[in-house]
């Protein structure tokens, strides 16, 4: 039988707290035999467990009692409370787990100390002070850095000096090798640049929240005409856990997420014709926050690729940092999910950028002369002319130009339209004639009462009503049919302003 039995209970029945909350509870020590005790101490800290070596945070100490003799049969109760840390958060992955612990130990001299610990769950709460709201660079958390002892510094200096001496001694061989390697790398880059020219890639948000609309901007002017298999961005997340030490260590990797989004489909890039697009990628919902400890890491990255057949691809990769939405000043959300391309990859409609939306709906009523105003959210009589066009499109052949011709015939007519929303995003890079759509919203959804997909460019004046709509809700307006998007099989419509 142990000298003591220790129990730890929390004031929260599910032991769940948010960062910055007060964690409170009680420690109960049941003494089973007479012992001398130098004190009972509570520590709280975070620690990793799983496949990798243990990383841990600073142990915060609370002295529950000082040295007292403990007698068999005694039961001691100590209430405790402390402020929960705000980072890292609880994470249960495959190779890596991060948990927060309350650890209680009874200091028994000249003997093994009875001890016990219990975990509690830490969810996103207060924002860490390192987060200033900026998104442009990965944020580093302050770690406790152990100052190297003097002897270690001397050893490091000797190692560096030895390396420099060796380098100097072998420079006759090393320098030409380095030059050759560097030359090959330079030639490789030149070869790619000879086709794509100078590529400007912007990922304005290196700090991302789950489910956010993540912007990517890509521009280049090809120096030659060349085909592309597509332009893609791959979002990748991985756990990396290291066990053992030094050269006897083993690294275990587990892929958490791998998804390729097509930014631009296969086609041809024409010499001298600028390619400049802004895209939005729907970031996955996840609780795999970026972690960067010594032996346990959760890393996210995004790699853009211009896939050139039978030629080296242009690629560029950036590390991302995924944090809870609570830590961000301006979470960027669209209404919802994504459309799936025929290839099975998730495609992103070009020139669509997401905005935040709320779970409220508003309807805009049409009151143009000659039209039938309809307050219903569903497909009423006023929708009949548009639904007739939709029916024609549905019966037309999928291939060939028949659908485009039907749409062309409907061009210029104004229709009442009720759209069941898939998502709403900010219009960027509008390529039409009318600048009024430039700062408006793009609505992607289906025409109510049908399966017909639609992309509607709305005026800036409709932003207020659209910003509060979310997936599944409906929005009514008037619009003209402008074109047929054969890539996504959808109508493209432009909103008609009120008089």
């Amino acid at each position: 039988m142990a000298k003591c039995d220790i129990q730890i209970t929390f004031d929260s029945p599910d032991r769940t707290y948010c960062g910055g909350d007060t964690v409170a509870g009680e420690v109960c020590v049941q003494v089973n035999e007479d012992i001398r005790c130098n004190g009972i101490v509570l520590f709280h800290y975070w620690r990793t467990h799983g496949r990798g070596n243990t990383d841990r945070g600073k142990k915060h100490e609370i002295q529950l009692t000082s040295g007292v003799p403990l007698q068999a049969g005694e039961e001691l109760r100590f209430p405790f409370e402390f402020v929960a840390e705000i980072w890292p958060l609880t994470y249960h992955g495959h190779y890596i787990n991060v948990d927060h612990f309350v650890h209680v130990g009874v200091d028994v001299p000249w003997s093994f100390d009875p001890k016990h610990e219990e975990e509690y769950i830490l969810l996103p709460g207060e924002r860490p002070p390192e987060f200033s709201g900026g998104r442009g660079e990965v944020i580093e958390f302050e770690k406790e850095v152990t100052e190297a002892k003097g002897i270690v510094k001397v050893i490091l200096f000797v190692i560096v000096a030895l390396f420099m001496v060796l380098f100097a001694a072998f420079s006759v061989v090393l320098i030409p090798l380095l030059l050759v390697g560097g030359g090959i790398y330079w030639a490789w880059k030149k070869m790619i640049a000879s086709r794509v020219g100078e590529v400007k890639l912007k990922m304005p948000h290196l700090v991302v929240g789950p489910g956010e609309d993540w912007p990517v901007e890509l521009s280049f002017t090809p120096k030659k005409t060349f085909p592309v298999n597509g332009i893609t961005v791959k979002v990748f997340a991985q756990e990396t856990a290291t066990s053992g030490s030094g050269t006897n260590s083993t690294t275990h990797r587990h892929t958490l997420h791998e998804e390729t989004h097509t930014l631009h489909p296969a086609g041809a890039m024409l010499a001298g014709e600028e390619f400049s697009e802004q895209f939005t990628v729907s970031f996955p919902e996840t609780d795999a926050w970026s972690i960067a400890e010594s032996d346990n890491k959760v890393t996210w990255s995004a790699q853009v690729r211009i896939d050139i057949p039978r030629f080296p691809d242009w690629t560029q990769k950036a590390e991302l940092q995924v944090v809870p939405l609570e830590f961000l000043d301006d979470p960027a959300h669209s209404g919802s999910g994504r459309s799936q391309s025929a290839s099975g990859h998730t495609s992103v409609p070009p020139a669509a950028v997401g905005t935040a939306s709320r779970a409220e709906s508003e309807f805009r009523e049409a009151d143009l002369p000659g039209t039938v105003a309809n307050n219903d959210a569903g497909a009423g009589e006023s929708m009949a002319p548009l639904l007739a066009v939709v029916a024609e499109i549905d019966q037309a052949g999928r291939f060939g130009n028949e659908r485009s011709e039907i749409v062309a015939a409907a061009d210029g007519h104004t229709y009442d339209v009720v759209i069941q929303i898939d998502r709403v995003s900010t219009t960027f890079g509008f390529s039409g004639d009318d600048d009024a759509f430039e700062n408006g919203r793009t609505v992607i959804g289906r025409i109510a009462g049908s399966d017909q997909k639609v992309q509607l460019f709305a005026w800036e004046s409709s932003n207020d009503s659209l910003d509060y709509l979310s997936r599944g809700e409906t929005w009514q307006t008037r619009a003209t049919v402008r074109s047929w998007d054969s890539l996504y099989d959808r109508l493209v419509m432009h909103e008609v302003p009120f008089d």
Partner: protein, 208 residues
């Protein structure tokens, strides 16, 4: 769109465990769990010139034996020599050297010829050299010490070590232990990695 509500349960609570029993354990935990019969070795530590070497491949349990001996003898000096590096020989009695094949010639000469009881973990058999240095040598091939029964005990001891509370926990059957031994021989590390993944995929308490 509302932020999805994060919900968590305590780690591995569905298995009545605190963590995956086949993840990385600290050196102290490894020593505490070592199911190695070291009493006869401990008893011989007082013999002058005694040397015992645990010979075997990586992952077969050499380090576990050395750590178990270290935990029993508070005056022991222990060193693990990293690959490609030099490490000073510590003071202590007995002297425990892990990866002894990485000792320099001069270190071998000094250590083998001293009178301090010696425990080696090594890939290479130093029996001849130790005898020429005047040592009384005992050689233990760790692979042969890991039979199915011992493996079965070891694996279930790890599960018991991370038990959360009273009640059922998953267990490894003797059949499974035998099957793992057939597949991995005495490569304990490989067996642990195999079971780590198996436990990650467990959704309820069951026997494996």
């Amino acid at each position: 769109m509302s932020v999805p509500q994060l919900t968590y349960s305590l780690p591995y609570a569905h298995l009545n465990l605190r963590r995956n029993p086949f993840g990385e354990f600290s050196a102290d935990e490894q020593a505490a769990l070592a199911l190695v019969d070291i009493d006869p070795i401990i008893a011989r530590m007082n013999e002058p010139g005694y040397a015992v070497q645990f010979v075997g491949e990586k992952g077969y349990g050499k380090t576990t034996h050395l750590l178990a001996i270290r935990s029993r003898l508070s005056g022991a000096g222990y060193v693990h020599i990293p690959e490609g590096e030099r490490a000073p020989v510590p003071l202590g009695c007995p002297l425990l050297i892990d990866e002894a094949q990485r000792l320099t010639q001069w270190q071998q000469f000094q250590v083998f010829r001293s009178n301090t009881p010696l425990v080696l973990g090594t890939h290479r058999d130093f029996q001849q050299k130790l005898r020429r240095a005047g040592r009384v040598v005992e050689t233990i091939e760790v692979e042969q010490r890991t039979d199915t029964e011992r493996l079965h005990q070891l694996l279930n001891a790890r599960i018991e070590w991370v038990r959360r509370c009273d009640g059922q926990v998953p267990s490894i059957t003797i059949t499974t232990a035998d099957s793992l031994r057939q597949q991995y021989a005495a490569n304990i590390r490989g067996i642990l990695h195999h079971l780590y993944t198996a436990f990650q995929n467990l959704s309820e308490v069951t026997d494996l």
